[in-house]
Amino acid sequence: MRAEYMREQKRSHGRKVLAVLPIQYPKELLTAMNVLSMELWGPPGAPRGPGASRLQAYVCSVARNAVAFVQAGGAAEVDAFLYPHACDSIQGLATLIPDLGGEDKPALHYLNPKGGYRPSSRRFVAGELRRLAADLAELTGEPLSADRLSWALDLHREIDRLRARLLDGRARLDMTDSDLYAVLRRGEWLWPEDHLAELKLAASRLAPMGEVVQRGVGLLLSGIVPEPMSIFDELSSMGAYVAADDYAAVGRRVVRKQLLASEDPMDTLAWLMFAYPPCPTRSTSLGQRMDYLDRLATRSSAEGVIIHTVKFCEPELFDVAGIKERFGARGLPVLFLESELEAELSGQTITRLEAFVELLTQRRKS
């Protein structure tokens, strides 16, 4: 489906397609330059094929699966790759993947500054954006126009507003988690305007303020990417739902902050790159991240927290002790679950989830 969609986009709209690795990148710039992004999260399932063993088994499955997928020809039709600097693993892939047999597609980079806002990093982001725009111009043969960028910024603001409404109004939304996440995650490869249309449709299912549709046990889920997606059906069957989202692939990419209006759209975009919710791959302080998670939990009245992270993902794992401590002190139970992007949840994982929901249900009663 993705491949067909991609071909259609190229054919009918003359768009270039960029395979994009996780996590944060200036998508507005791509949209403005008529470039479609196809994000590579996994895909789930054990890595197969000739590329499966090019990374050691103790490297995270997001990186391993990406290599296997690309080497097996999964990205044959894209025009180039973009490597945002998420972590040591992704940065390594940026030279590993281009080296795959016969691969001569351009490898573009976008380096996210680490450690939160500083004057130095603000200046750096501006430089990175300029360079990426130049690289994209080379790819598309068209320079960036300020008007198109303003348009793209507005479009993505609109998308973020809707995504925020869906996520923050989750208790009022008459949709299952798996349907909601299917919509949200299609944004990883749909042209933004198509994505927007689907979001609008979903938002029409929001009940008026004050009405509550979801009565199950509300959970805060935090991690890299919700895979396998069957986790949502399992949770529903147990009587729970996702009340708040802190997945790097989803909630952590929804900008809720009001942006300073600026004459120059490049300037606005640079500010935007600092407006994302805290993500350990960007390494704002631990305290800031905890406060943010705390607010998410409070606002959504989550009754429990599931840290659903990818095995061997150091950026996520270093924060786990802190999250446990913070929510432990507040009396909010925390379940720690490591995933390897399996195609299906293991029986043991289901048992853990179920026991956790049982625990929360029991607390509700007493």
Partner: protein
């Protein structure tokens, strides 16, 4: 007197069941090696238990364990909740329950009313489970019954640093080859497993009892090693293998 509730714990290595009377006492119980067709095994075993205790076939069944959803029970509840219930039924107190089973290990923190406050389970590999012991006992060619005496006779433990079962296996082989005494290695093996389980336990709340259940709790050597690793006395629950089934029965009582 006949039973009023039945609990089945369909684990991956053993199948367990209890029948409770209306006082909550165990009328009859059964522990058997798990068979691949757990539904069939349950039918056959339960029919026998019912007959033994003249319990009618409409007495409700609660199930737990790996095969909980496949035995046609009225309620299926996870091992975590069931173990906590079973343990609370026995002790009437909260605390930390350590259950080391064949394939799974779990640590359950219970409130004073027996409710589950928090829990942890082992990773999917065999480190930290009964399987680790089983494999290494096999390597050392030591029978399960001989373990306590051998460990007690060890002058000191020979350190086994690997907690991974596969690595530990080759480590143990070479320790034997280097002429280290089997008792000492055996003690080391227990310490290694205990340290892994203790790691899973995380920070224990100050005070509060530590209980142990599961098949591995039947071995004194393991209980001692765990107590040492946790720095706390460890009380083994009566009939440690049946705690999960007991909890399952309580859930339908």
């Amino acid at each position: 007197m006949s039973g009023v509730a039945i609990g089945v714990d369909a684990g991956s290595t053993t199948w367990k069941a209890v029948i409770l009377d209306d006082q909550g006492q165990v009328l009859a119980s059964r522990v058997a090696p798990a068979e691949p067709l757990v539904d069939q095994q349950t039918r056959v075993e339960l029919a026998r238990l019912r007959e033994r205790t003249s319990t009618s076939s409409d007495v409700p069944v609660g199930a737990t364990g790996y095969g909980r959803k496949r035995v046609g029970a009225q309620r299926a509840i996870t091992e975590i909740t069931c173990h906590a219930r079973g343990a609370f039924h026995i002790t009437g107190a909260g605390g930390v329950l350590v259950d080391v089973g064949g394939q799974d290990s779990k640590i359950i923190h219970m409130g004073p009313d027996g409710s589950v406050l928090d829990f942890a389970m082992n990773d999917k590999c065999a480190a930290g489970t009964g399987r680790f012991l089983e494999v290494l006992l096999g390597r050392l060619q030591v029978a399960w019954e001989d373990v306590p005496a051998l460990v007690a006779s060890a002058r000191s433990a020979v350190s086994v640093s690997s907690t991974c079962t596969v690595f530990a296996e080759s480590e143990v082989i070479s320790l034997v080859a280097e002429g280290e005494p089997v008792e000492g290695i055996l003690k080391g093996v227990h310490q290694s497993l205990a340290s892994r389980v203790a790691g899973l336990a995380g920070l224990l709340p100050p005070g509060g009892a530590v209980y142990m259940s599961g098949g591995v709790a039947l071995g004194r050597a393991m209980v001692d090693a765990l107590a040492a690793a946790l720095g706390r006395p460890v009380t083994v629950l009566a009939e440690p293998q049946l705690v999960g089934a007991l909890g399952a029965a309580l859930s339908v009582r």
